[in-house]
């Protein structure tokens, strides 16, 4: 073991390097596949997507809280105010965003009791037009302005409001959950001035 250790080590290092380079492509593609968001499906110039969450509260409460949140009664919604079109016999609610909303979309929201008395599932299916083409949509996805991301932000915020009474704020994300704020976080140190 002692004789030729240095040479041995150098050779091993080279072998390790070579195998590392060799497995690079497979590794990267695997990790990318494992970490990307589910993509909304694209049909012509129309996109659709889903968002869902489970909230630990009875169905009637979740429905009424969702209605007031989605109509942006307290300004907490990231998507902005919606207008309700109609309610289906099974309780599903059809809606579209108002003109002053952050993004334009329409959707259907369904409420289902979670198994075993574990609260209420909210399932939202949204549809929106691709404005600015595929590139424009990709840019919005990166900047967090894409409707599906806004709807997902809103479901997390609504869950926090119902379960804890408040939207969780941190030094890095003082406005609470927002896909838009995630790529460009402020440092995790206190703000200079009190935040509203």
């Amino acid at each position: 073991m002692v004789i030729g250790t240095a040479v041995d080590r150098a050779w091993r290092m080279a072998a390790a390097l070579a195998s590392v380079v060799g497995s690079f492509v497979a590794d990267v593609s695997t990790s990318v596949r494992m970490t990307v968001d589910p993509q909304p499906t694209r049909k012509d110039r129309h996109m659709d997507g889903n968002a869902s969450i489970t909230i630990r509260a009875p169905q009637e409460d979740v429905i009424s809280r969702w209605r007031s949140f989605a109509q942006d009664a307290d300004g907490s919604s990231r998507l902005g105010r919606i207008e309700i079109d109609d309610e289906e016999p099974d309780g599903a609610i059809r809606w579209h965003t108002s003109q002053d909303a952050t993004a334009q979309a329409s959707g259907v929201t369904r409420f289902v009791s979670a198994p075993g008395d574990r609260g209420t599932e909210i399932h939202i299916r949204i549809e929106f037009d691709v404005t600015g083409g595929v590139v424009g949509e990709a840019v919005k996805k990166v900047t967090g302005d894409e409707p599906q991301q806004l709807v997902r932000d809103d479901l997390r915020r609504l869950k926090q409001l119902i379960e804890t009474g408040e939207i969780a704020r941190s030094d890095g994300a003082p406005m609470g959950h927002s896909a838009k704020a995630q790529p460009e976080q402020r440092p995790a140190q206190p703000l200079e001035h009190a935040h509203g």
């Binding site: 390790a16 390097l17 590392v20 969780a168 941190s170």
Partner: protein, 392 residues
């Protein structure tokens, strides 16, 4: 106030930053009296945890005195002396109600980020990247503590800071690692890593009835602490002999340890130069986030039918996971960031009863301003460093 901020790989600085403020009604502000550097802070220091920003305040092990409370805080008042658990937990979601506090569904404002990497978000953590919420940490003069009625434990007993500070993380973490390993008098348990968490895992195995605990490390001074203070009954120094699996068999009549605890995590070292070089190069090139030698050896060494308890921190993707050994030997793996909240009362009880004095791990006591040197000393295991306590 002054705070320890991350300013790039291998760089921390003590800087003046704004004082924390109440952002949520359930917040409290704590004036910190003692704070510690955790082994997992070194993963941030070394740049292996993604989503760090320049200026992030580090630190998730801290205690102090309440100086301000939000209007929804009812259990704590100004002047209370508290230890703060490192996960931030709402106490009302399904996970918290089931005692799985580090899996809280409501405290990570960057849940979307975590979901991309882990499939689901987990709880917010103080001073531990934006992936776990972007919360300012506690290696500072003051810290904002959300959900103050849920997390902090009030210390009314006449105990020194160093006796209770580690309730914030490493004592409960080691204890949970031991608990998951299901210790009993007839079982042999091997603990990979004799750092601070490993020391508490060993000590906790003994508290929970194990009579044989094997400590594994490459630093003789850490193995000595494991034997003399934590209660290890045998040691393996893999710097002397890198074949840990063979040595564990030798120590257990060929059976292998009944349970193994990984108290190392993503930046393991290994006696085998080639294996170490492979992962070191991949990790440096950011092609894998982990160097999982301890986890691989733990799986290979564990007795068929046994338990692999993982409390060492991992952050992303690993290579060469011995799935064949794991499956064919019928192993059980138990893991998780510690659900600190559920251990606070019982472990404080054990400290008060004199069953354990957690201050045995402290080797360095320094003023907060010395944090940059302290990180270097701890990282390079200089001066027989095991645990650093900083005093703001």
């Amino acid at each position: 106030m002054r705070a320890t901020v991350w300013s790039g790989r291998n760089t921390v600085q003590v800087e003046n930053v704004p004082d924390p403020q109440i952002l949520n009604r359930g917040d409290a502000i704590v004036k910190i009296t003692s704070t510690a550097i955790c082994g997992s802070d070194l993963h941030l220091y070394d740049g292996y945890i993604p989503t760090m920003e320049h200026g992030d305040i580090l630190g998730h092990e801290f205690m102090g005195e309440i100086v301000e409370t939000g209007r929804d805080v009812s259990k704590l008042k100004v002047g209370d002396r508290v230890v703060v658990p490192f996960p931030i937990s709402c106490g009302t979601c399904e996970q918290c109600l089931n005692g799985l506090f580090s899996l809280c569904e409501n405290t990570n404002p960057n849940a979307g980020m975590a979901e991309k990497l882990f499939g689901h978000p987990t709880a917010g953590i103080f001073g531990y990247s934006h992936l776990t919420g972007g919360y300012a940490g506690g290696q500072a003069e003051y810290a904002r503590v959300p959900h103050a009625d849920v997390g902090p434990i009030k210390i009314e007993e006449d105990l020194e800071d160093e006796q209770v500070l580690f309730l914030s993380d490493i004592f409960p973490t080691g204890f949970m690692g031991a608990e998951m390993a299901e210790p009993s008098p007839e079982k042999v348990i091997a603990v990979f890593g004799a750092g601070p968490v490993g020391q508490f895992a060993i000590a906790s195995c003994r508290l929970l009835g194990a009579e044989q605990v094997i400590a594994i490390d490459k630093e003789p001074y850490r193995l000595a602490m494991a034997t003399n203070e934590a209660g290890a009954t045998a040691t393996i120094n893999f710097d002397e002999n890198p074949d840990i699996v063979e040595q564990l068999k030798e120590l257990t009549g060929g059976r292998g340890p009944d349970s193994v605890i990984d108290a190392v995590g993503m930046e393991a070292t290994h006696g085998h130069a080639a294996l170490h070089a492979y992962d070191r190069v991949k990790q440096a090139a950011r092609q894998e986030t982990e160097r999982p030698h301890a986890l691989r050896d733990a799986i290979m060494a564990c007795r068929p039918g046994g338990i692999v308890s993982v409390i060492g921190v991992y952050g992303g993707m690993t290579d060469k996971f011995p799935a064949g050994a794991f499956m064919n030997k019928g192993l059980t793996m138990r893991t998780g960031q510690c659900h600190v909240h559920r251990y606070l009362e019982p472990l404080l009880g054990r400290i008060v009863a004199g069953e354990i004095d957690p201050s045995f791990v402290v080797t360095h006591r320094l003023p907060l301003g010395e944090a940059p040197n302290a990180y270097e000393t701890f990282k390079h295991k200089q001066d027989e460093c095991v645990k650093v306590v900083l005093k703001p």
